[in-house]
C-alpha cells in the first residue's frame, strides 16, 4: 500500500518526532559520553581538555571500581537465577487447572507496580534490625538467637538486595512464562502422553525445552534492566556498608552528580556500553540464532 517514494511526506511526519528525540537525547548523549571519557570534563570546569586513556587507566587501577563491578554481577546474577527458578515453578504450578489460578496470577502481578521508592522504605522496615518483620519472624520460630544486622553487614545487605531484586523480577518473568506455557500446543503434550511420558517427563522433556528460548530472553531482559536499577541501594543502603551494595549504575551516577566528575562517570558508562555490546553479540550468536 505504501511506497517509500510516493508517501515520503507521511513517512517523514510519522518518524520525525521520534527521530529528533532519539538523535538529540540518545545518540548524541552516548557519543558525547564516550567522547567525555577521553577528557577531564566536569560541569565545575568551564573548559575541558583531551586526556587520552587517562580515565581508563585510573579506573582500572581503582579497587573500588572492581569491587563495584563484582558486586553488581554477583547481585544481579543471583537475583536473576533465583527469580528464574521461582518463576518457572510458579508458572508450572499456576498453569494447572487450579481454582482461582487467575486470581493468584493477578495478585502476584499486581506487586509489579509497587514503586521502587516504596519498596526501598518497605524493605528498610522489613529488614529493620530491632523491629523488622524478618528478624521478628525468625526469632518467633527460634531460628535466630540475636538480631541480625541485615542492612549494616556487607554480606547480609547484599542478600537483602538480591532478595528484593528477585522478588521484583518474579511477577514479570512468571507472566511471560505463563504466556509461553499457554503457547505450547496441547497436541504435543497429548502426543507425549500417548507415548507414555509421565508428568515430570512431559515437563522436562517437552514443556521446558519448548519455552526455553522465551524464558531465557525474558531473563536476560530482566537482568539488563536490573543493571539500570539503583533506587533501592541508593535509598536503602546508600551503597554501603563499605560499598557492599554499590552497583555500577549508582556508582556512575554518584561520580557524575555527586562528585561532578563527568569524565570518570562517562568512562564507567562507556565501559558499560562495551560490556553491553559484547553481551548483545553473544546473545545474538547463541539465543537468537537458535530461534
Amino acid at each position: 500500500m505504501y511506497s517509500l517514494k510516493q508517501n515520503k511526506l507521511l513517512l517523514l511526519g510519522l518518524c520525525l518526532p521520534a527521530t529528533l528525540i532519539v538523535a538529540i537525547f540518545i545518540i548524541f548523549p552516548i557519543a558525547n559520553g564516550v567522547y567525555m571519557s577521553f577528557t577531564d570534563a566536569s560541569p565545575l570546569r568551564p573548559t575541558s581538555k583531551f586526556v587520552g586513556f587517562e580515565n581508563y587507566r585510573y579506573l582500572f587501577a581503582d579497587d573500588v571500581y572492581w569491587q563495584v563491578l563484582g558486586n553488581t554481577i554477583f547481585i544481579i546474577g543471583f537475583a536473576t537465577i533465583l527469580a528464574m527458578l521461582i518463576s518457572v515453578c510458579l508458572a508450572l504450578l499456576l498453569n494447572n487447572t487450579i481454582r482461582f489460578s487467575g486470581l493468584y496470577r493477578s495478585l502476584i502481578f499486581q506487586t509489579w507496580v509497587v514503586p521502587w521508592i516504596v519498596i526501598a522504605i518497605l524493605w528498610g522496615w522489613i529488614f529493620n534490625t530491632d523491629y523488622g518483620l524478618v528478624n521478628g519472624t525468625l526469632a518467633q520460630y527460634g531460628l535466630i538467637e540475636s538480631q541480625i544486622d541485615w542492612l549494616f553487614n556487607g554480606k547480609y545487605a547484599q542478600w537483602a538486595i538480591i532478595l528484593c531484586f528477585a522478588w521484583r523480577s518474579i511477577p514479570f518473568l512468571m507472566v511471560i512464562m505463563l504466556a509461553a506455557l499457554q503457547g505450547v500446543p496441547g497436541e504435543v503434550l497429548d502426543a507425549a502422553e500417548v507415548d507414555g511420558a509421565k508428568y515430570w517427563q512431559k515437563t522436562f522433556k517437552v514443556t521446558l525445552p519448548l519455552i526455553q528460548n522465551i524464558s531465557l530472553a525474558a531473563a536476560l531482559m530482566q537482568a539488563v534492566r536490573m543493571f539500570q536499577e539503583m533506587t533501592l541501594p541508593f535509598v536503602l543502603t546508600e551503597g554501603g556498608p563499605m560499598n557492599a551494595t554499590m552497583v555500577l549504575s549508582m556508582y556512575s551516577y554518584n561520580l557524575a552528580f555527586d562528585s561532578w566528575d563527568f569524565a570518570l562517570a562517562a568512562t564507567v558508562g562507556s565501559l558499560w556500553l562495551v560490556m553491553l555490546v559484547l553481551f548483545g553479540a553473544i546473545y545474538l550468536k547463541t539465543v537468537v540464532r537458535e530461534m
Binding site: 548523549p29 558525547n32 487450579i98 507496580v113 514503586p115 522496615w125 521478628g136 556512575s252 557524575a256
Partner: protein, 283 residues
C-alpha cells in the same frame, strides 16, 4: 466401593496439594505488601510488638491523617502530571514510529529495532550527563518539562518496540480495504490501526506511566526547587529525613503513593498483559 490408593492421590492429594502450594506461594509473594498495609493501619503502640502482628487489633487511620499534608499532595500532583504527559507523548510518538517501521520498507529496519531493544540496557547515567548539559543550555533545568523529556526518552524505544510487534500482527488487508473504500492515510492510522492496537497502546502507556512514577534520578539531578519534586524525589529528599522512625507514617505514605498506580493497574492489568505479551514474546 473399593479403596484405591492411586484414586486417592489423583482425586484428593494432587488437587488439594496444588491448591495449597499456589495459595502459599501467592501469600508469601504478596506478604511484603500486606505487611506494608498492615503497619500503616496499626496504632503506634502495636507497631513494635513481638512476635509480629499481621492483623492490627484495632484499625487506625491516624497515621494517614498525620502525613497527609500539602507536601504530599504536591508531590502526588507533580508525579501524576509528569507521568501522564510522558505516557501520552511517548506512546503517541512511539506508535507513529512503530507504524512507519511496520508498514514501510525502511532500509536497515532490523538494525533500528535492535538498537531500540538494546536501549533497554543503556547506561542511564551516561545519557543523563549530556542531557543535563543540553537542558541547561535550553534553560529547562528545574522544570517539570525536563523530567517529562527524560522519562519520554528512556521509554520511547520500548513503546516503539512493543507497538511495532503488535502492529505487525494486524493484517495489512484491513488497511487496504479501508484504503480502497476511500479512507485517507491519517484516517486509516487513527481510526483503524490505533483502535485495533488498544491493548498495545494501553500496555505502552502504562509502562511509561509506571516507569515515570518510579523514576528517581532524573528528578534528583534536574530539579532543585522543592515544590517541583515528584513522589520518589520528595520521599527520598525530605520525607525520609523528617519521618525517620515514624514507621506507621512512612507505611501510610507508601500506601498512598502506591494507590494511584495500583488502581490503574487493577483495571488495565488484563489489557496490559495482552499488549505486553503480544508485543514482546515475538522478540
Amino acid at each position: 466401593m473399593k479403596f484405591s490408593f492411586s484414586k486417592l492421590v489423583r482425586g484428593y492429594i494432587i488437587p488439594y496439594g496444588l491448591q495449597a502450594s499456589a495459595l502459599a506461594s501467592t501469600a508469601i509473594l504478596i506478604s511484603p505488601i500486606v505487611w506494608m498495609v498492615s503497619t500503616s493501619l496499626k496504632k503506634e503502640s502495636e507497631v513494635f510488638d513481638r512476635p509480629p502482628v499481621w492483623i492490627p487489633s484495632e484499625i487506625s487511620f491516624d497515621s494517614y491523617f498525620r502525613i497527609m499534608n500539602s507536601f504530599v499532595a504536591n508531590i502526588l500532583y507533580n508525579s501524576i502530571l509528569v507521568a501522564l504527559l510522558a505516557a501520552i507523548i511517548a506512546t503517541v510518538i512511539g506508535a507513529m514510529t512503530a507504524y512507519a517501521l511496520s508498514r514501510f520498507a525502511i532500509p536497515g529496519k532490523s538494525t533500528i529495532m535492535l538498537f531500540f531493544l538494546s536501549s533497554l540496557a543503556f547506561p542511564i547515567p551516561l545519557l543523563m550527563m549530556s542531557m543535563y548539559i543540553l537542558l541547561m543550555k535550553m534553560g529547562l533545568l528545574d522544570t517539570l518539562l525536563s523530567m517529562i523529556i527524560g522519562h519520554t526518552v528512556i521509554t520511547l524505544p520500548i513503546t516503539v518496540w512493543l507497538m511495532k510487534n503488535f502492529i505487525d500482527q494486524i493484517p495489512k488487508e484491513i488497511e487496504e480495504a479501508a484504503y480502497v473504500e476511500g479512507a485517507s492515510f491519517l484516517r486509516i492510522i487513527f481510526f483503524i490501526v490505533f483502535p485495533l492496537s488498544m491493548p498495545a497502546l494501553t500496555a505502552s502507556a502504562l509502562f511509561v506511566f509506571v516507569t515515570s512514577w518510579n523514576e528517581l534520578f532524573f528528578g534528583l539531578s534536574f530539579i532543585s526547587s522543592p515544590d517541583l519534586r515528584t513522589v520518589p524525589v520528595g520521599i527520598s529528599q525530605s520525607f525520609l529525613q523528617e519521618f525517620k522512625t515514624d514507621w506507621t507514617g512512612m507505611m501510610s505514605l507508601a500506601v498512598i503513593v502506591t494507590i494511584p498506580i495500583g488502581i490503574i493497574f487493577v483495571f488495565l492489568q488484563k489489557s496490559f498483559l495482552r499488549g505486553m505479551i503480544a508485543g514482546s514474546v515475538k522478540g
